[in-house]
């Protein structure tokens, strides 16, 4: 770190060099008293130093809520979301998936999680005007093999699903070329994938969506009941890494969770089993749940035209959405909500 660049008293700069302090992080990690001792400076000098380095890190970091609200630039605006390719589903989510943060899609098997994820991998490739992010996706498989046949079907049927987009635009997009499939069967492979492969794809701007199918599979086998502390640490570290990538590159991370039973902390007397559901849940911005269980409303005619394959997409928690749900079916061309 070149301390001479900083707007500091020369004696402070000299003390920094003499104490071999190499970064702002090192300074902020120390208490005022420790810094005084280490650098042999007065408390006033140290206060000044702390404020100067803090200002370097945090200059121009303030926005008013009004500026956030009025920002319509698709590169920075909070209003920009990743569409799911269906107006009913987008309405449930008030636009789509938020661009910064980890969204979890949980539910029993065969409820449609992979279908929704594949659909997102196609949606992200559309221009901003049509709810996409003009970029590709990376799909990390942790247990099953990637469903390439189904992907091809969806690609072929895009014109049917996305009737809102002009045909010329759909034809121009080479959907298959921009979906990068990775396999990671264990934690080490997964760690490598995130830190090397995905970082690279994101840095080059080649992808703006990361799908992990599924996060649960990674942790199922490797940890026994007594390893809960270590499991929690891994979950937190991965969560933090994913969160950091998402923030840096304004890229949604979609994690599929295949737990068969989702407990919503309906803990009796604050007791929960140490399933570490909460450690992972603390990393999430939004949790969605899909199920095949037909809700009681189905009999009232909502789904009577759709034979037997009605599913529910439910918002379990999100900072900007109420707990709500909608119905959908999985058709040849993809996932479509039912009004």
């Amino acid at each position: 770190m070149d301390w001479d660049q900083f707007d500091l008293n020369p004696k402070v700069i000299a003390a920094l060099k003499k104490a071999d302090i190499k970064s702002i992080k090192e300074i902020l990690n120390l208490s005022g008293a420790d810094l005084q001792r280490l650098m042999k400076l007065s408390s006033a000098d140290i206060q000044c130093l702390l404020k100067t380095v803090s200002l370097t890190l945090r200059r121009n970091s303030m926005l008013t809520a009004l500026q956030l609200y009025q920002d319509k630039d698709h590169l920075t605006s909070q209003h920009q979301k990743l569409s799911l390719g269906c107006s009913v589903l987008d309405n449930l989510l008030k636009g789509g998936i938020p661009l910064v943060g980890i969204t979890e899609l949980a539910g029993e098997s065969s409820a449609g999680k992979t279908q929704i994820s594949l659909q997102l991998c196609l949606c992200v490739q559309y221009p901003y005007k049509y709810g996409g992010l003009d970029s590709g996706a990376v799909y990390i498989c942790t247990e099953d093999v990637f469903p390439s046949k189904r992907l091809q079907q969806l690609i072929d049927q895009q014109h049917k699903l996305r009737a809102d987009v002009p045909a010329e635009i759909i034809q121009k997009i080479k959907f298959g070329n921009s979906i990068f499939v990775e396999h990671a069967a264990d934690l080490d492979a997964f760690h490598n994938c995130i830190t090397k492969r995905i970082s690279l794809l994101l840095t080059r701007g080649m992808v703006r969506l990361v799908v992990i199918d599924s996060i649960a599979a990674l942790f199922r086998c490797e940890f026994g009941a007594s390893d809960s502390v270590m499991k929690a640490q891994y979950l937190q570290t991965f969560g933090a890494q994913l969160h950091s990538l998402s923030t840096r590159f304004r890229t949604p991370i979609m994690c599929i969770n295949q737990k068969s039973v989702m407990l919503l902390y309906s803990a009796v007397d604050n007791r929960v089993s140490p399933a570490l559901g909460i450690t992972w849940a603390n990393q999430l911005l939004m949790r969605l749940m899909v199920s095949r269980i037909s809700p009681p409303e189905q009999s009232s005619g909502v789904a009577s035209h759709h034979t037997g394959s009605v599913r529910t997409l439910r918002v379990v928690f999100a900072p900007h959405l109420p707990q709500s749900f909608c119905y959908y079916t999985v058709k040849l061309e993809g996932v479509k909500g039912i009004r």
Binding site: K25, S61, T64, K94
Partner: protein, 327 residues
Amino acid sequence: EIGISKEEALEVLQVVRKECHSDAARTAGGSAATRKCTALELLEEEQAQGFIITFCSALDNILGGGVQLTKITEICGAPGVGKTQLCMQLAVDVQIPECFGGVAGEAVFIDTEGSFMVDRLVDIATACVQHCQLIAEAHQEEDHLKALETFSLESILSHIYYFRCRDYIELLAQVYLLPDFLSEHSKVRLVVVDGIAFPFRHDFEDLSLRTRLLNGLAQQLIIIANDHKSAVVLTNQMTTRIGQNQSILVPALGESWGHAATVRLIFHWDNSQRLATLYKSPSQKESTIPYCITSHGFRDVQPPAVTQNAEGTEMNPRKRPRREEEK
């Protein structure tokens, strides 16, 4: 430090102290360590402090009026229970004009998780303005109507100062800069850090470093709350503590962090009902109340009982008589 003997140093201090005492312009809010006052004066000062209402009268009641200025209030809870919702509600409510029972302040919102969604804030602010408009219509008083001229959605949004901190270093730096920011923006009466745990719960092999940093942060926030007559509100995560036979959910960041906040609220679920428990408070007793999150924001489960002076008591907690049992 300046190379004089201990006796000489004492002499200097005594001279300075005498100078300070004779300075009649000393203000009450100053950070002078030598200011003396009686406990009665302190009590009166404390009772005169404002509260920021939460719009959930049950919660305001158990807190003794609302979220108190000059204190640190911590909200703990599992994801999705409503911590960020209450923070956003408070960032709006702190701005309520005095004639409606508010403290007419501004808010600083430090976001470490990225869960601050401005569209939701707009819903909450719009509902608050409408609420005040209804009161103004009912009472038809001059000052209500005048206050509403400047209490609008745009003005509310423009007085919430948002900072996004992406790791603990950015958070530490931001807090070092806060005192100067608050001096420049002297109308700020609320500082929110949502959430305090997120940046500190990974990345720390050395837990003693974490404890030291958190303690330092707590001390700085206590000073900020006092010096700038602001409420500081922090949100914290829950973690599982594994006991012998069972596991329970406890606030994250460890035992020593538990001393940082003056008031601690724990939000939790009972089946599908959200509950708030006042877990720690210097003056109020431990109690639990239900609340809900509506499209308008943070609210009571049922509308509070309507009496003759309903609007007055709801919106003017400072005018509510102080009951003996509440001390």
